[in-house]
Symmetry: C2
Subunit: 323 residues, 2 copies
């Protein structure tokens, strides 16, 4: 019978530093056309409101294929439950057999999403980032900063969120976080987005904003911005003009980012051509396609690709076998 | 942590007689438009060759939603493994939480498919069927006959298959089967399809034929035929003219049977209009839409609908809770 691992069993099996490398390798495979990612399946519920995403796919000639079910049920917090749940199934590409069930409750999705931000920063941030700016105060905003400690040697981080109390709590929590403490990173609240943008050469937006939070005129030359909040229709974190002004716009998946995410708004406004978007996996393979000087503005638009789920699931399966 | 049940744990939880009623109720809900069944997801592998089908859906205002992964890996038998594998996941419609994993290895798919044949026979077979004709010798052909014992009081069954040795083995196995023995059904081999068609007022085809096995001129008035082998492009068990001659053509899903199955061939040949096909769930709700006299020829074209997976999964979940 295939094993089912719960979150407590999964957490110790994941090595965050190796994860970044595996996600990076996954993007490279994806951009080489070596990953079969069929369209995402959706189910919507009205009462109580809930959304389910079904993502699945396979790397060509790999040992396994992977299916993920991730859900958001928005009334759950009023019942004392987390809003998200998730499970990943790993099947053999040789026999079709179900090999492992990871009942990760979306934690692996959060981790692979944070790791994608680290991959983008590794390849696109300018040299010598002193201050990291984080816009957003949710789980993903926190995980982004923790994961960035592995790839960027900054002195401090600056956090902006709409609710100062939530910002304060986030800073308190993060100060006690192991990767933040190990990196010796100090964290403070930004008085405004203007202040954050003026001070930070690496900015991450991780919000569910439906109106732009960052404008083109706020950004200094030599800044990299990773936008990861927009994963569905109607969401937007960056002003379209900012993508128009950027020297490089990179997307995890050009096909997905042409439908939702940040790029779609700039394409609609005639400020960005689809052909000008470079895929993150292409930058991984050829750094000349990414940042070529420290005074450029670069943007990474991340919407989440099933190859990330495949890569992180394989890591857990391997670690479990090797125990 | 959600339970995972393997096949040994699942088998004793299923009550075959109740299953037929639940599948019948599921078809009625489906034909009332009360089931959300998104398009089937597919993954294909070349080396070794394998196909994966991902079916999922939800009955409106139900407690749960269900996702099924079913695979066929055709080189498995050469490795001493069964060609099919399958797993069904049951999630809450209230919270999105994963509630139960059924690692049924496709047995529940076989059972719900056989139960659909029994539903079709219950509503469409003429009164007084003395002999049941079974065309095909695979797992599904056997299960169809076993399940029919619950709804039809026949004296005997007649089996036809291309390989007489396989027919002999099937008859030997079935004679020892509990439902067949309990019904006192005798089983013999048919010398030809002609002989089978002449003797049987209820015929089931359960083959993977790509050329018609039954012709219009072979069928006696007052016969019901259930065709369930055609579940994909290019498969066909019944001559299109037979559907043209039938008094009633019933499909489990009009939308699916207009794309594959038996109806599609008759529609292409101009022998059947899509509007003339009646959905099985509509017949369940209103018997006047089905057979109205004992000398009519009726046909049921079954391709398999996700509501069957939902219904059988719910039965297992309920039985497991009540243990």
């Amino acid at each position: 019978m295939p094993h089912i691992l719960d979150l407590d069993a999964i957490r110790p099996l994941l090595d965050a530093d190796r994860l970044i490398n595996e996600i990076e390798a996954g993007f490279a495979l994806y951009s080489e056309g070596r990953v079969n990612v069929p369209p995402v399946g959706f189910l919507h519920f009205d009462d109580p409101p809930g959304d389910v995403h079904i993502k699945y796919g396979a790397i060509t000639d790999d040992d396994v294929w992977v299916l993920k079910v991730a859900s958001g049920f928005y009334a759950n917090p009023s019942l004392g439950l987390p809003p998200s749940d998730g499970v990943i199934l790993i099947f053999s590409q040789q026999t079709g057999a179900l090999e492992l069930v990871l009942h990760d409750r979306c934690w692996l999705t959060d981790m692979r999403t944070a790791a994608a931000g680290a991959v983008a920063a590794r390849h696109l941030a300018p040299s010598g980032v002193d201050h990291i700016g984080i816009i957003g105060t949710g789980v993903q905003a926190r995980m982004q900063l923790e994961m960035l400690c592995s790839v960027v040697a900054a002195e401090s981080a600056i956090v902006w969120g709409r609710n100062p109390e939530t910002v304060r709590e986030m800073i308190e929590d993060l100060t006690r976080s192991e990767p933040i403490a190990a990196a010796g990173l100090t964290i403070r609240a930004a008085g405004s987005v203007d202040e954050l943008a003026a001070a930070s050469r690496l900015i991450v937006t991780a919000t569910s904003a439906r109106e732009p939070l960052l404008r083109a005129d706020q950004i200094q030359p030599g800044t990299h911005i990773t936008a990861m909040g927009s994963d569905d229709d109607g969401k937007q974190e960056l002003d379209a003009a900012l993508l128009g002004r950027a020297d490089r716009v990179v997307a995890d998946s050009v096909s997905q980012c042409s439908e939702y995410g940040e790029c779609v708004h700039a394409i609609s406004a005639g400020l960005l051509a689809r052909n000008d978007i470079v895929e993150l996996g292409a930058v991984v393979r050829d750094s000349a396609l990414g940042r070529t000087s420290d005074d450029q503005i670069t943007i990474a638009d991340l919407t989440g690709v099933a190859v990330q789920d495949i890569q992180i699931a394989k890591m857990i399966a391997r670690a479990q076998r090797e125990r």
